[in-house]
Symmetry: C2
Subunit: 361 residues, 2 copies
Amino acid sequence: MNKFWSPQIADLVPYTPGEQPKIADLTKLNTNESPYPPAPGVEHVLQSFDSARLRLYPDPEASDLKQALASTYGVDTKQVFVGNGSDEVLAHAFMAFFRQSKPVVKPAITYSFYEVYADLYGIDLINMPLNSEFGIDLGAFPAENGGIIFANPNAPTGKAVPLYQIEALLERNTESLVLVDEAYVDFGGDSAIALVDKYPNLLVTQTFSKSRSLAGLRIGFGIGHPDLIEALERVKNSFNSYPLDMVAIQAGVASLADKEYFDACTAKIIATREQTVTQLQELGFTVLPSATNFVFAQHRYLEGGELMGFLRTKGVLVRHFSRPEIANFLRITIGTGEEMQRLIDTLKQHPDIISLPVSAE
Amino acid sequence: MNKFWSPQIADLVPYTPGEQPKIADLTKLNTNESPYPPAPGVEHVLQSFDSARLRLYPDPEASDLKQALASTYGVDTKQVFVGNGSDEVLAHAFMAFFRQSKPVVKPAITYSFYEVYADLYGIDLINMPLNSEFGIDLGAFPAENGGIIFANPNAPTGKAVPLYQIEALLERNTESLVLVDEAYVDFGGDSAIALVDKYPNLLVTQTFSKSRSLAGLRIGFGIGHPDLIEALERVKNSFNSYPLDMVAIQAGVASLADKEYFDACTAKIIATREQTVTQLQELGFTVLPSATNFVFAQHRYLEGGELMGFLRTKGVLVRHFSRPEIANFLRITIGTGEEMQRLIDTLKQHPDIISLPVSAE
């Protein structure tokens, strides 16, 4: 603590992003990035970009990107908000909707940044435990709340709740915002965007960082009722008028234009995931059913932290969380087929894994 | 107001950026952009960028850019913070330092976003009037405060306070943060970065949007004591881990590498400014002494809003503020020599200007 700081700053516990090491020959399965490059149109945007235009401010509305998103998702541009990654969209949403007298409800185990935002803006939380299968039990969420947020599919579990359960929640929770963070939805979840016209308190966020292979350019968005978008715009325009730069706006448009490439990449990742799940099961892992580009797996006998350390010494990075309920799990991003084979081959080098009987389960 | 909004949101009055019209053949002198393209190295960054890398998250620390800034300004990387434009740096600074029990002091007329940030974070302000020559009177700033912020050179007046006055302020104001926003300093001000090693409560912010011709890529930075930078990092990492994208980081590095180009551009803009001042004076304007890439000018007889409207009908955009003390002024960005000649020629078409006697003053 320093005497020039605002008093609240010393107590902040910032979010810790997955490691971005600068080491060669690593297989990086720790931050849920796509193993495939972005749509070819993105390369064209970069190479043909007139750099002289960069002297000008970008469109503060990022209208081209909003229009492309509206067209892709079948909504009006007034239902679309864009930000510098979905993290910025989420941060603005906490400010715009969740500073209420009642606490905000979230799953106890979910994207850990939600707690950080709540802390930053002085928002009280109610943490709802996952059920015995590590699923989100929306039916148990309390009626009295200042808002609800959850990731669907959830992170780091990878599990999705079906859309009918979200609609049931919206039917009974009509007095506060319901925010569904769909960072991973393109790998197997059902998007709640289908419900935004029906429920004026539903906000859905998504990102270009996973299924669109554009983590490096920072593009996220929210879709919901125009009144919700207006609140986000008010906060955004009280914070930073131009969060998306010119290159990111045009690259985002190019990515949305290539549906065929997008579908092919997500299909490949889903197929690799299913193969990886089988291979992990054969090595003695139990794997939660994943609707994402990662799997959440625990070994029957071995501890998660130890396994992560072992893999790291062999040049394979996966993510491990120290929280007791999930400390035995590894969160493993789905890379290319070759990368996942390296993971499996490396696990087989572990002295206590190769000695286990192989079972098809 | 919508029942799902946080109660504070309805009262926000967001910042209004200068117009970014999509009309051809406009001379755009309203948002203080540079008329020159960024350093040639920026074009090289775009054209040679390996778009496949965009699938990965950028370096959350933007270390390459911090190192280049540290080297450029002769400080340690621990004294450097970077953000998505200096607006984001300023927003985080309000959160990190200015949420104090005492109010924050600022000039009554300065960059209008400061009021918006204060509003967003619930910070009380004391507005100090400018002196009779539209200068900031730092000597009059009250000793009891929760922080001090001002732009130097100031906007929209264009006037700079000398460094010795800032040092005198720092000598007596030792218990709260002093933030000097130097968005325009490269056009004629003296940077307070020279003082950061001596005063642990001094934070200086700058931007790549003006003198480095990179408004389109959103890069800003702050320089100060490592303890101040730590507070900014805490807020940033509680908000968005990766505010600068990969392209912006590398373009920023390329811009800093070309000092010769930077010096040539700022020198040209300063020379054009001095010529424009003379021409405006000959048309009956009084012009405040500018240390920026714009001039703040009022005509002896004609009203600012009317003149702005006249220029707009002729395809020349300048900025006008309705605030009574400065309602007679136009803020005119310095463009190329040709653009400024179009401004002067257009003003000469005004029926009440061509009839005025020309005076060398």
